[in-house]
Amino acid sequence: MCDSCDCGSHGESVIISKPGADHKHSPTHSRTVQLEIDVLAKNNEIAARNRAFFASKGILALNLVSSPGSGKTTILERTIGDLKGQIPLAVIEGDQQTLRDAERIEATGIEVVQVNTGTGCHLDGEMIHRAMHQLTLEQDSILFIENVGNLVCPALFDLGEAAKVVTISVTEGEDKPQKYPHMFRAATLCLINKIDLLPHLDFDVAACRGFARQVNPELEFIEVSATSGEGMGQWYDWLRTRCI
């Protein structure tokens, strides 16, 4: 905003106005229309419709977010392998390009739809609405929505989910919650993944939890390894208690 100072309220000084009354040469007549509409109102409306649909069918929809590569798809693969046959499951995969993650899920034998956002860096309510139409969503099922790997804008765009689950892997910095506080504030559960690698790293789990709790005192944590399976039982228990 300002190159020479950090002051947060500097914005006002850079407003360059051209009030309508100054348009002396304009043959038109200006009129101000008051609006006061939230820019995200349309998305929020669609998300609310998705949410009502999920509620009517007893579907638990979860919005899975993380930085690229924290292990969302691997967690899903393992979860599906362990829960298939016990709870009906479906997946919506969000990526900018490629069908790769959807193909990985397809290989587990459950229904999946890929949403490619192109240059878009997040899923939105309408994309989920459209994807839902491609799925046979069963009564009392779980719908996992893997968002685009990005901790910034998925925090802004409601999809109609029951909860956001944020994954951080121990190969990232434990200060991630400080760098992306909006997402950690918006999340209900934080999965700390790749704990099989902890012996080789100096990731401070307690510090990471502490940073996240500062912005979200209610945030729950489960430590898991999607590759070894450690801690996954706790995640399944979390899912089961949410399902009913």
Binding site: S17, L35, E36, C153, P181, Q214
Partner: protein, 116 residues
């Protein structure tokens, strides 16, 4: 980043509303309120708005971005002050756990139409 999709939403929203206003020649101004904790980069939003407005009624519009600040209240000394981050501590006594309100706004306040 998401500023582009927000900019497109803003342009769409104003276009949609302006069609209800009769014979509109063009939109000359749009006032957008952006909270300092809304997760939006104002510079980037301004840039994207210009791009999103191209070849629309808003092509020549002046986008006025009005920044608003989140307010914090200290849990221990009760002071209230403007906060610049979700990690704010009290600027009077240093206490953590500041209660934050506002700062998340992202809305179109008004726009100005030029009528024929």
């Amino acid at each position: 980043m998401h500023e582009m999709s927000l900019a497109m939403s803003i342009v769409d929203l104003v276009m949609e509303q302006s069609t209800r206003e009769g014979e509109v020649d063009r939109v000359s101004e749009v006032e957008v309120e952006v909270g300092n904790l809304a997760g939006v980069l104002i510079d980037s939003l301004e840039f994207c708005l210009e791009a999103a407005a191209r070849s629309t009624l808003l092509e020549e519009a002046n986008f006025k971005i009005i920044p608003t600040m989140a307010q914090g209240e200290c849990p221990s000394c009760r002071a209230s002050f403007e906060v610049a981050s979700l990690y704010a501590v009290c600027c009077h006594c240093g206490a953590a756990g500041v209660t934050i309100s506002g700062g998340q706004e992202l809305k179109v306040r008004s726009f100005v139409i030029e009528e024929k």
